[in-house]
């Protein structure tokens, strides 16, 4: 490790506290947004028209007659499922942080306090640290666990993006199938 342990653990602490201050509200806001979209598709989504192939359907029942705020059977739609999955995954970083990252966080916090007054030039500052509990090893472990956290929100983000793309494509395909927009 290039930085001395007391400095490195301070740097980790800065990243951890600033990151947490941004990540928690951001995860909550994103989850609220995807949750709203999932809710809308279930309970507020306008009923789609009853589709039949154009040669069989001189009349297409457009949604204006079927528009309602009552629950529709849209829970099986891909955008709903993707948005619902994103709503679960995005805030899951909070329990993940507490349950999985928590022990490593606590050890690093204790190290920060322990090394608060240590000299940056003292290379033997951690000579009595237990195996696997030096600042370098703990920070390395934290980086790996944080990567797992990135995977959680990564899947959530992919779901959010895919829900947007699939939702738009579905609407266009329905429109093309029904011969709209001509």
């Amino acid at each position: 490790m290039q930085a001395p342990a007391p400095l490195a653990v301070k740097q980790w602490y800065t990243i951890f506290t600033r990151g947490g201050a941004i990540a928690r509200p951001l995860a909550a806001i994103s989850a609220l947004a995807t949750g709203y979209l999932a809710y809308h598709r279930t309970f507020r989504h306008m009923s789609l028209p009853t589709l039949q192939p154009p040669h069989h359907s001189p009349t297409i029942h457009t949604s204006s007659r079927h528009t309602s705020n009552t629950p529709t059977e849209d829970r099986t739609s891909t955008p709903f499922r993707l948005n619902a999955l994103a709503t679960l995954l995005l805030p899951s970083i909070v329990p993940f942080t507490i349950l999985v990252l928590g022990p490593t966080n606590n050890k690093l916090m204790a190290k920060k306090d322990e090394l608060a007054n240590a000299s940056l030039r003292d290379k033997h500052v951690e000579q009595f640290a237990k195996e696997g509990e030096t600042v370098k090893e703990l920070m390395d472990k934290w980086a790996s666990l944080n990567l797992a956290r990135a995977l959680l929100v990564g899947v959530g983000a992919v779901c959010a993006v895919a829900a947007g793309v699939v939702g738009r494509r579905e609407v266009k395909e329905i429109g093309r199938f029904a011969g709209w927009g001509r």
Partner: protein, 47 residues
């Protein structure tokens, strides 16, 4: 009402933009932190 000519409701569009932007930013930030710490520890991304 023709669903193709019907504009996406503003609230939905905003929610979609917020959901996508927020989650993508969150991924980037989390990855960046892992890389920063890993570089600080190992001098490279992963040993």
């Amino acid at each position: 009402m023709d669903i193709l000519t019907q504009k996406t409701p503003t609230a939905l569009a905003i929610a979609q933009a917020v959901g996508i932007t927020g989650s993508v930013f969150l991924v980037g930030k989390t990855l960046w932190h892992s890389m920063t710490i890993s570089i600080a520890v190992n001098g490279k991304i992963y040993s």
